[in-house]
């Protein structure tokens, strides 16, 4: 497969692994956060951890869209589908995520709600065209990767006069979340996660560009290497991070230069700016309220804003108490530190979103390293 198999070449992987082993200083440790769940998945799927020395650790970040969505927003979506009778269109990752009372879109659908899995906003627009007498709400979720498609859907709906289409906007931004992880406001410094650098997201960076990380790097003096999603990309980026750390540099470097440019996709950025504005603050699961970290639909497009069109009842959504997802999302804890892992909480019976999404840390540990994780839990107990 062109542009894929080349980036999974075993001989090149071994030579990068040798370079990492040679250059990693055994007298210290390296803690790198892969911000994005796509990287977490790649690291586990290919066993990248097995190819780096034990003093190079991956800390899994909050870049999993369904993991950071607070339960209240999911409960709102379920209300739209159940009580308000709309057709709710959603990307598939959301379907199994547990809301209050362990209800999910799948259980709501089994109970008669009209919830449809779509692969793109184009499918959601088509559902609206095919059902002119029904309200169709698209569950907009994701970082900068999926936001332009939501903006495009609103512009298309306006152009066509598709009055029964609206967006429930939950789109969030990457740079404020990285800043939040680094500044850890309100968190005891002893509890804060220590990081030596970041593997920057792949697809997000194609949209926002390498330049978007420069202010962060200047402010916090932590290296960022924008990395592709293939195993060789990850290994090469780790090597680049180790070199920056060893040389005392903190820069934005772009390993994924075959796709990511300095300025990113300026057309997509313009479209996002046209349709969306920034919320003053948005609640993230795990991170709490993060200022200027999410998008809202501009008043000019309020006709396509589900939050403006439907009166949603206020909710007291509460996360499962013993679920450690919030600390895991901040990189402070690992799945093995959660006593629900693999017992009360499995991909079949998830207690928290991190066990659901293929980008979630708990799902990655469960799927790819369950035996080791459970053994570590038993040893700790």
């Amino acid at each position: 497969m062109k542009y894929v198999s080349e980036f999974r070449d075993p001989a090149l992987a071994q030579s990068l692994a040798r370079a990492i082993a040679r250059e990693a200083d055994p007298a210290r440790s390296y803690a790198f956060m892969e911000f994005c769940g796509g990287h977490t998945h790649a690291i586990f799927r290919y066993g990248v951890q097995d190819l780096v020395p034990a003093n190079v650790r991956f800390i899994h970040g909050p870049g999993c869209p369904v993991c950071v969505l607070p339960m209240r927003r999911l409960d709102d979506a379920l209300e739209l589908a159940e009580a308000q009778g709309v057709i709710l269109a959603s990307y598939a990752d959301m379907l199994r995520v547990p809301g209050s009372g362990r209800r999910s879109m799948l259980t709501a659908r089994a109970g008669g709600a009209d919830i449809r899995m779509v692969y793109s906003t184009l499918d959601a627009l088509q559902i609206a065209r095919d059902n002119p007498t029904r309200e169709v709400v698209f569950m907009g979720i994701g970082f900068e990767t999926t936001t332009p498609a939501s903006a495009m859907a609103i512009l298309a709906a306006q152009r066509e006069g598709l009055a029964n289409f609206s967006l429930f906007c939950n789109h969030v931004l990457t740079p404020p979340a990285i800043a939040h992880v680094l500044s850890a406001p309100g968190i005891d410094p002893a509890q804060a996660v220590h990081l030596d650098g970041f593997l920057g997201p792949s697809h997000v960076s194609t949209v926002i560009g390498a330049a978007a990380y420069r202010p962060l790097v200047e402010l916090y003096a932590k290296p960022v290497v924008i990395a592709g999603f293939e195993p060789l990309d990850v290994l090469q980026s780790v090597l680049m991070l180790i070199r920056q750390v060893n040389e005392g540099r903190a820069e934005v470097e772009n390993q994924y230069a075959r796709v990511v440019t300095e300025q990113g996709n300026t057309k997509a950025q313009a479209m996002m700016d046209q349709v969306f504005t920034l919320r003053d603050s948005f609640e993230w699961r795990g991170l709490g309220a993060v200022p200027h970290s999410a998008r809202a639909i501009r008043p000019a497009y309020a006709a396509f804003d589900a939050e403006a069109r439907f009166a949603l009842t206020p909710k007291q959504s509460r996360e499962t108490k013993s679920c450690e997802c919030p600390a895991i999302l901040r990189g402070v804890k690992q799945p093995k530190d959660c006593k629900l892992f693999g017992k009360a909480c499995t991909p079949e019976t998830p207690m928290g979103a991190c066990m659901v999404s293929s980008e979630g840390s708990c799902a990655a540990y469960y799927t790819y390293r369950r035996a080791e994780t459970m053994a570590a839990m038993e040893a700790a107990a």
Partner: protein, 344 residues
């Protein structure tokens, strides 16, 4: 042919047991299924079975879409049940078929599917010995559901069962993985991607007959249908309480299938196959079995994909692991629920 008028559909009367039912059977099913057993035209068909050990299996088929690249629900219902018999090392001798038809189903579609089913049975040399039809009201079914049951005879000296699986055996697969599931996905509503991938739906009993004749000590055969290779091997690892190790680089996967899975965020190891088998055997027989499989069109891409490891701790299921392309290792897990594509 008077039933098959343009636009004709299944009506409730076709399931009423009266003249309409008889005409449906005479004009659509009987011509396609014709064989001496069915010609007995009895409520129960008499089969002169050779002596020996019988195997029996049943399988319900509910696929959507009814027709897909490389097959349809009719041929699939024949292949699926024949393969379940063959996985016991047995020779299939007869099938039964039960149809649940939804009111409004175009008779032209039913006729195509019955023709395909009859052709699949003839090609496999396994007669449909008895059949039944019922009709449900519109909205109470999905076009056609077909349940097939099969009978087979196990040859002398063959004993195939998961509990035979022991440490240090070879794990073979008869060909490329994930073709059926991706062919179906490519046709599903809401997901139109252009592809040349066709379902691998096929009957494997001729290939299996050659395999068990040459190597009666095959430990286990299993067809990796729903849940794909990972579910099947995890089931076997659990039943035999033995560890298993796969080599990712040895897995036969078509580039088109790998590409579709990359795009959709799916894992080919979790995707259904309908014309493939997994064979676990003593290592000294691996090469012989691969050579036999490769002689058959269904086994052209047969490969050894791994080995069984040591026994799992008593009372625990064996774990399925894989050495990844780049030389790391990971667990290959059961799929939890339905495989859902990723957001980004």
């Amino acid at each position: 042919m008077t039933l098959l008028k343009p636009g004709a559909t299944i009506e409730m009367a076709h399931g009423g047991g009266g003249m309409a039912t008889t005409r449906l059977i005479r004009e659509i099913f009987a011509p396609h299924f014709a064989n001496p057993l069915l010609a007995q035209a009895h409520d129960a068909t008499r089969i002169d079975a050779p002596s020996g050990r019988l195997v029996m299996t049943t399988d319900a088929h509910v696929i959507s879409p009814l027709e897909f690249p490389g097959g349809d629900i009719g041929s699939l219902s024949v292949h699926g049940t024949i393969n379940d018999i063959a996985m016991g090392g047995a020779r299939p001798i007869a099938l039964s078929a039960a149809f649940i038809l939804e009111e409004g189903l175009p008779l032209a579609v039913l006729n195509r599917i019955a023709a395909s089913m009859g052709a699949a049975a003839r090609h496999a040399g396994v007669p449909i010995a008895t059949a039944d039809t019922k009709v449900v009201e519109r909205g109470h079914g999905d076009g056609i559901y077909i349940t097939t049951t099969g009978l087979g005879i196990v040859p002398e000296g063959v004993h195939i069962a998961p509990t035979n699986i022991a440490p240090d055996m070879a794990i073979l697969v008869s060909g490329t993985l994930g073709d059926h599931g991706v062919a179906i996905l490519s046709q599903r509503q809401g997901l139109h991607f252009g592809t040349t991938i066709t379902s691998d739906s096929a009957a494997l009993h001729h290939m299996v007959a050659d395999m068990v004749a040459a190597v009666p000590s095959i430990a286990c055969l299993r067809d990796p249908t729903r849940g794909g290779l990972s579910a099947t091997l995890n089931e076997l690892a659990e039943a035999a309480s033995v560890q298993m190790l796969l080599q990712e680089s040895a897995l036969p996967i078509r580039p088109e299938v790998a590409g579709a899975c990359e795009l959709l965020g799916l894992d080919p190891l979790h995707i259904a196959n309908e014309g493939k088998l997994i064979c676990i055997c003593p290592p000294e027989h691996a090469q012989t079995l691969l050579t036999i499989m490769r002689r058959h069109p269904e086994g052209q891409n047969a490969a050894q994909i791994g080995t069984t490891g040591p026994r799992a701790a008593p009372g625990t299921p064996g774990l399925l692991r894989m050495t990844t392309l780049i030389g790391g290792t990971r667990v290959v897990d059961w799929l939890a629920g339905e495989q859902l594509p990723r957001i980004c």
